[in-house]
C-alpha cells in the first residue's frame, strides 16, 4: 500500500506494510503476454459483473445485502492462477468475484442475486449464499469467520482422503479477529492440514478501519503463535499475488500445513450498497483507483510491454460486457422460483 498520508488517511490510522509496495520493485515477478491477457479478462469480468450488480441493485432487482468486490479483483484471480483443478475455495459474504474466478456461470450467479429459479441456489440463497460442488466452491457464508473453520474442515477432508487438494480459505481483515479463526489455525497446524488462509485486508471491516479494530495490524503475523508462516502481499498486483499463492499452495500441498497470506487490497465501493462512506475520504478512494487499479495496471502492461493493440483489448472489453449483459438479461427475465420450492431442499432423502 501507499503511505497512509498519501492515500489521504490520517497518520494515526496506518495500514500495515505501507511502504510503497506498488512501485514496481526490480524483482516483481513478470507475466507472459498470455498470462496478462488471461488475468485482464478474468479481472475485467468481475469488475463489469459487479458494476452491473450495483446497477441492478439500484433498480430494485437485487434485494437484501449486496457486497461488491470492485478493487480486490487481483487477489482472487492471482490465487486461482496458482491453484489447480480440485482445490477448494470458500469465502465470506463478499463472494461474487470468487465464484466467477472459480469458473461459475455469470448467469447463474446474477440470477441468484435477483432471486430467480436459474440462480445457483435456485433463488434460495442470495448474494451471500451460493455454492458449486462442480466448481469446488463451498460458499458464500454470511456469518463472519464461519468460513474459516469450514474451510479448515475442507482441508481436513483433503488430508483424510490424501487427495493432494488444497483448501483456499478466504477471510477479510474483520473476520480475522474472530475467535474461531484461531481455533482453526491451531488445529490446522497441529494436524498439518493443506489450507491456505487468504486474509483480504481491504483496510475496513465494514466502516471500522484496521487500526481501530486490530491490536496486531500485520495480519501475516496472526499465525505466529501456532508456527504458521505468513507473508504480506501486494494484493493490487496480480503478479505478486500469484507468486505468493504458488509458494503458499506448494507449502500446503506438500504436507507442511497451513500458510497465511495477507493480501493488501482495497475496496472501492462501500461495505454494502447502503454504506454511508463517512469513514474515509473520497480522495483516498480516487487515489487508489487512479494509481493502483489492478486492472488498469495490467492493461497498461499489455499495451506498453507486450505490445497488444488497443483494439484487441477493446474487443476483450466488448466480449466481457456482452457476457455480463447476457447474465443481467437472464437474471431479470428468468422466473422467480416455483412456490413449491419453499418446501424443498430442507432435508435429503435417506439412502436405502
Amino acid at each position: 500500500m501507499d503511505s497512509a498520508t498519501e492515500a489521504g488517511q490520517p497518520k494515526s490510522d496506518p495500514t500495515p506494510s505501507e511502504a510503497g509496495s506498488h512501485a514496481p520493485a526490480p524483482n516483481t515477478p513478470q507475466f507472459t503476454r498470455d498470462e496478462d491477457l488471461h488475468a485482464y479478462h478474468e479481472m475485467l469480468l468481475i469488475r463489469r459483473f459487479e458494476e452491473k450488480a450495483g446497477q441492478l441493485y439500484g433498480m430494485g432487482l437485487i434485494g437484501g445485502f449486496c457486497h461488491l468486490y470492485i478493487g480486490q479483483e487481483a487477489v482472487v484471480i492471482g490465487m486461482q492462477m496458482a491453484s489447480i483443478d480440485g482445490d477448494q475455495v470458500i469465502t465470506g459474504y463478499r463472494d461474487h468475484g470468487h465464484m466467477l474466478a472459480c469458473g461459475m456461470d455469470p448467469k447463474g450467479v446474477m440470477a441468484e442475486l435477483t432471486g430467480r429459479r436459474g440462480g445457483y441456489s435456485r433463488g434460495k440463497g442470495g448474494s451471500m449464499h451460493m455454492f458449486s460442488r462442480e466448481k469446488q466452491f463451498f460458499g458464500g457464508h454470511g456469518i463472519v469467520g464461519a468460513q474459516v473453520s469450514l474451510g479448515t474442515g475442507l482441508a481436513f477432508a483433503d488430508a483424510y482422503r490424501k487427495n493432494g487438494q488444497v483448501s483456499l480459505t478466504y477471510m477479510g481483515d474483520g473476520a480475522a479477529n474472530q475467535g474461531q479463526v484461531y481455533e482453526s489455525f491451531n488445529m490446522a497446524q497441529l494436524w498439518k492440514l493443506p489450507v491456505v488462509y487468504v486474509i483480504e485486508n481491504n483496510r475496513y471491516a465494514m466502516g471500522t478501519s484496521v487500526a481501530r479494530a486490530s491490536a496486531q495490524t500485520d495480519f501475516s503475523k496472526r499465525g505466529i503463535s501456532f508456527g504458521i508462516p505468513g507473508e504480506q502481499v501486494d494484493g493490487m498486483d496480480v503478479r505478486t499475488v500469484r507468486e505468493a499463492a504458488a509458494r503458499a499452495i506448494e507449502h500446503a500441498r506438500s504436507g507442511e500445513g497451513p500458510y497465511i497470506l495477507e493480501m493488501q487490497t482495497y475496496r472501492y465501493r462501500g461495505h454494502s450498497m447502503s454504506d454511508p462512506a463517512k469513514y474515509r475520504t473520497k480522495d483516498e478512494v480516487s487515489k487508489m483507483r487512479d494509481e493502483h487499479d489492478p486492472i488498469e495496471m495490467v492493461r497498461k502492461r499489455l499495451i506498453e510491454a507486450h505490445g497488444v493493440p488497443e483494439a484487441d483489448l477493446k474487443a476483450t472489453d466488448a466480449k466481457v460486457r456482452e457476457t455480463v449483459n447476457d447474465a443481467a438479461e437472464f437474471a431479470t427475465h428468468d422466473p422467480e422460483p416455483d412456490p413449491a420450492e419453499l418446501w424443498t431442499d430442507i432435508l435429503l432423502e435417506a439412502r436405502a
Partner: protein
C-alpha cells in the same frame, strides 16, 4: 469402634460397580490412606482408601464380585484389639453414608463429571427415578415389529450400544470418523468411544483440542465434501460454543445451496441434567434443536433405540442432533442380536400399551413415565406410555392415535416448560385431537429455574414420579 467401609461412587451417576481386587487381607493393620481395594465400572477403575487406622477385620464382599451397589458395606475396620464380632453391628442407615465412606483417589471422568468426594447419599439415589434397581428394563411392548420375532436379545448398557453402533458403521464405511474432546486416548469422557482408537486408529478417531466452535466447523466443512463425521460434544452444554455451525452452517446450507450441498454429520453427546453438576452442565436442549428446520433430532431412551437410531443417524445424509443422557449411559436393556440393526428415524414407539391415558415422553423422561405408569396400574389406571425417540421430525400420528383411544394426555420432560417439547405436543393435539380430548393436556417438566446444585433443590427442580402420577390423576379426574 468398628467402621464399615462402603462401596464408593466414582461419579454422581454411578449406581454399582465391580469389586475387582482386595489389596489387604483380613487381619492386616491399615492406616489412613492405605489402598484397601480396587473397584471398577464400565467407565473406569479406582482405588478405595482407608480413612481410619485399625485392622481390616472382615471382608464382606469377595474380590471379583460384580454389581456391588454403591453404599453397600464391603469391609469392616476395627480399632486395634477390638473384637471383630463387635463390629458386625447393624448396617448404618442408608442416609448416613458419609460415615466411613472411603475417599476416591481418582478423578475418573471429564469436565462434566464432578469427582465424587463422598459416596452418594441415599437421598441422591432416590432422586433419579432412573435408578435401574426399581425399573425392570423389559423389552418394550411389541407394538411395532422392529426386528424379527424370536431374535436373540442380549443385555447391554446404553453406553455399549452407542459404541457398538459407531464401531459397526465405521467398519462398513471409511468415510465415517469420530472427533471430539477425549474421544481417542482417554477412551471418551463418558467412555462411549471405548476401544475405537484401538480398532480404527488416530486417522478416524480424532482427539481435538478444547475448541468446540472450531471443531464443529471443521466437522461441518468435512461433511460438505461427503465425509460422515460423528462429532462428540463432552456435553451439549459445550455445544453452545458451536451452535452457530450447527444451525447456520450445518442445518441451513442444503437449503441455501438449492439442494447442492448436503451435510451428513452427527452431533452427539450427553444432554440435560446429570447429577449435581449445576446449571451450566445440566441444560436440556431438546426443544432448542427441535425448533430448527434442516436438522433431525433424536433422543433415545433404551439401549436398543440408542443403537438402532445412532446407526440410522450415521447413515442419514442430513445433520443429526443425537441427544444422549448421562444417567442412562449405565442402564442396561435388551438389544436384538442382529448383524445390522437399524431403526427408522422419526417413529415414536408405544413402550407400554394402555387404555386410560397417554403419557408422552422421551429420553430420561421415560423413567418417570414408566414408574408412574406402574404405580398407576396398581391404582387401576392403565397408562399408555409413548417414547417419542425422535423429536424432529416428530411422530405426531402415533401420539394422536393413542389420544383418540385414551382421550387424555400428559407429557413428561426434564426441559423447561416454556416452548418445550410438551408445549409442542399440546399444540399439535389441539389441532389434531381436539374433539377426542376429555381433559386439558398437562405437562410435567423441569421447573422454570436454572438447575441448582444443592441436592434437595436439584431434586425439586427436576420432574418426579409423583408429579406425573398427580398430573395423570388430574386429567383422569381422579
Amino acid at each position: 469402634m468398628a467402621t464399615d467401609i462402603l462401596m464408593p461412587a466414582l461419579s454422581p451417576t454411578m449406581e454399582e460397580g465391580k469389586l475387582a481386587k482386595w489389596l489387604k487381607k483380613e487381619g492386616d493393620p491399615v492406616k489412613s490412606g492405605d489402598v484397601l481395594a480396587e473397584i471398577e465400572t464400565d467407565k473406569a477403575t479406582m482405588e478405595v482408601e482407608a480413612i481410619d487406622e485399625g485392622v481390616l477385620a472382615k471382608i464382606l464382599v469377595a474380590e471379583g464380585s460384580e454389581g456391588v451397589k454403591v453404599n453397600t458395606p464391603i469391609a469392616i475396620i476395627t480399632a486395634e484389639g477390638e473384637d471383630v464380632s463387635a463390629a458386625s453391628a447393624p448396617k448404618p442407615a442408608a442416609n448416613t453414608p458419609a460415615q466411613g465412606a472411603p475417599t476416591p483417589t481418582m478423578q475418573a471422568e471429564g469436565q462434566a463429571d464432578a469427582p465424587a468426594a463422598t459416596a452418594k447419599s441415599g437421598d441422591d439415589a432416590q432422586r433419579a427415578p432412573a435408578a435401574p434397581a426399581t425399573i425392570t428394563n423389559k423389552a418394550p411392548a411389541p407394538v411395532m415389529a422392529e426386528f424379527p420375532e424370536g431374535t436373540e436379545m442380549v443385555t447391554m448398557t446404553v453406553r455399549e450400544a452407542l459404541r457398538d453402533a459407531m464401531a459397526e458403521e465405521m467398519r462398513g464405511d471409511d468415510s465415517v470418523f469420530v472427533m471430539g474432546e477425549e474421544v481417542a486416548e482417554y477412551q471418551g469422557a463418558y467412555k462411549i468411544t471405548q476401544g475405537l482408537l484401538q480398532e480404527f486408529g488416530a486417522r478416524r478417531v480424532v482427539d481435538t483440542p478444547i475448541t468446540e466452535h472450531g471443531f464443529a466447523g471443521i466437522g461441518v466443512g468435512a461433511a460438505f465434501t461427503g465425509l460422515r463425521p460423528i462429532v462428540e460434544f463432552m456435553t451439549f452444554n459445550f455445544a453452545m460454543q458451536a451452535i452457530d455451525h450447527i444451525i447456520n452452517s450445518a442445518a441451513k446450507t442444503l437449503y441455501m445451496s438449492g439442494g447442492q450441498l448436503g451435510c451428513p454429520i452427527v452431533f452427539r453427546g450427553p444432554n440435560g441434567a446429570a447429577a449435581r453438576v449445576g446449571a451450566q452442565h445440566s441444560h436440556d436442549y431438546s426443544a432448542w434443536y427441535s425448533n430448527v428446520p434442516g436438522l433431525k433430532v433424536i433422543a433415545p431412551y433404551t439401549a436398543s433405540d440408542a443403537k438402532g437410531l445412532l446407526k440410522a443417524a450415521i447413515r442419514d445424509p442430513n445433520p443429526i442432533i443425537f441427544l444422549e443422557n448421562e444417567i442412562l449411559y449405565g442402564q442396561s436393556f435388551p438389544v436384538p442380536k442382529l448383524d445390522d440393526f437399524v431403526l427408522p428415524i422419526g417413529k415414536a414407539r408405544i413402550h407400554r400399551p394402555g387404555t386410560d391415558v397417554t403419557i408422552v415422553s422421551f429420553s430420561i423422561g421415560m423413567t418417570y413415565a414408566l414408574k408412574a405408569a406402574q404405580a398407576l396400574a396398581e391404582q387401576g389406571i392403565e397408562a399408555e406410555v409413548i417414547d417419542l425417540r425422535t423429536l424432529r421430525p416428530m411422530d405426531t400420528e402415533t401420539v394422536v392415535e393413542s389420544v383418540k383411544k385414551t382421550g387424555r394426555c400428559v407429557t413428561v420432560e426434564e426441559g423447561f416448560p416454556q416452548s418445550g417439547i410438551g408445549a409442542e405436543i399440546v399444540a399439535r393435539l389441539m389441532v389434531d385431537a381436539f374433539d377426542y380430548l376429555d381433559a386439558p393436556v398437562l405437562r410435567v417438566t423441569g421447573k422454570d429455574v436454572p438447575m441448582p446444585y444443592a441436592a434437595n433443590l436439584e431434586k425439586l427442580a427436576l420432574p418426579n414420579v409423583a408429579e406425573v402420577i398427580e398430573a395423570v390423576k388430574a386429567v383422569c379426574y381422579r
